[in-house]
Subunit: 194 residues, 2 copies
DNA sequence: ATAACCATGTAACGAGTTACATGATTCC
DNA sequence: GGAATCATGTAACTCGTTACATGGTTAT
């Protein structure tokens, strides 16, 4: 359901091909809703059948032809109707938490490499978000921005992803620190799950 | 995949029926991995076929009979082998962010009720986590706990959920404040998506 | 030359959600 | 008398992921 509206909302930024949309999803929408190109192509087809987007073929030389979609009045109306509704509660969904849960089965030092990799991922994602943030603010403070910008929605959403990744990183560092301490303290001791 | 190990890890706390596990998932594992009873029953069946858990029927009077499952050596070994692996990167996955993205289509005041409801949910969940935290710490500080407790994994995982919900709540409050300001400032003005 | 980009999908599979089904017992 | 608890599932469906398929063009 959400993908449908994520696609509609992304078309607010102007008409796009499936390929274009897949890119937008990668760059600026990934924080809001993640989707693979295959899903996007399928969704655009479905949305056109529903009459919520309008597609037209653009013939190109020296490039494959493409299908450009734009949000039409029905689509905009559907989005307006949906946007004020209630969202289902969100939660962290993360394999790493399951691994944590069983962490005490093994020597703490065994877990550290996995978390180091994770830290890298988190840092990269955070840096990406920070860049997107800079491109929103363009030197203004956040306060100025949310007071004066015509469109704030995308920024509000970005901010959630930013905070999430910051806290994720902080948590990973905290976990690594505890694992390090325990690896030292328990060197030689047998791990136990009881 | 993760559900499989979530079930195995939950059985570290002792043998349980599907019904018991469903409860544990609701109370203390929900933060780590969410699953409905139907999934748990199915997974337990699959795990028994794989020989990773051992089930036995317990006959009861004045209660339906039940099937008690316990983690066996194969299951424990599978968990040990899995636990040090790499987890796929996590991300927020939240309808509300999609709604945010399209927020500027409508009057800010229209969005507030949805976010108020959400704030309630977040507060309840946070309170639940705080209670679980108290039952872990039992008066000790966090520092003491992670230094001295035999088993820290579940606490590390809980902490992530706790932080997530705290930040979620803070973000919701921030969004509501911005919506309120904009509703005032733009009273009478026409909303625009450009 | 080789990689990355443009451009669009299909097919199979796995995971998660919703709806439905049953029935005794104990708590309020 | 009605709700909640114990106890276990099946069936249909939606959503997301992985693998596969194609083929020209531009940048290094």
């Amino acid at each position: 359901m959400a993908l449908k509206y994520a696609v509609l909302a992304t078309l607010l930024d102007g008409e796009a091909s499936g390929y274009d949309l897949a890119k937008r999803f990668d760059i600026s929408v990934s924080n809001v809703w993640h989707a693979l190109p295959q899903q996007i192509y399928a969704e655009l087809g479905a949305l056109e059948k529903l009459g919520l987007v309008t597609g037209k073929v653009v013939v190109q030389e020296s490039r494959p032809n493409k299908r450009l979609y734009s949000l039409n009045d029905s689509g905009r109306a559907a989005l307006v109707e949906w946007v004020a509704g209630e969202s289902r509660p969100s939660a962290v969904k993360d394999e790493a938490l399951v691994r944590c849960f069983a962490a005490d089965l093994v020597d703490p030092s065994k877990l550290m490499p996995g978390f180091e990799v994770r830290r890298e991922h988190a840092r990269n994602k955070l840096n990406h978000y920070l860049e997107v943030q800079r491109s929103f603010l363009k030197g203004r403070t956040e306060e100025e921005y949310v007071r004066s910008a015509r469109r704030v929605g995308p920024y509000l959403a970005l901010k959630r992803g930013l905070i999430f990744e910051q806290e994720n990183l902080a948590w990973i560092d905290w976990v690594l620190e505890i694992l390090r301490q325990r690896a030292e303290a328990g060197a030689g001791a047998r791990p136990s799950a009881s």
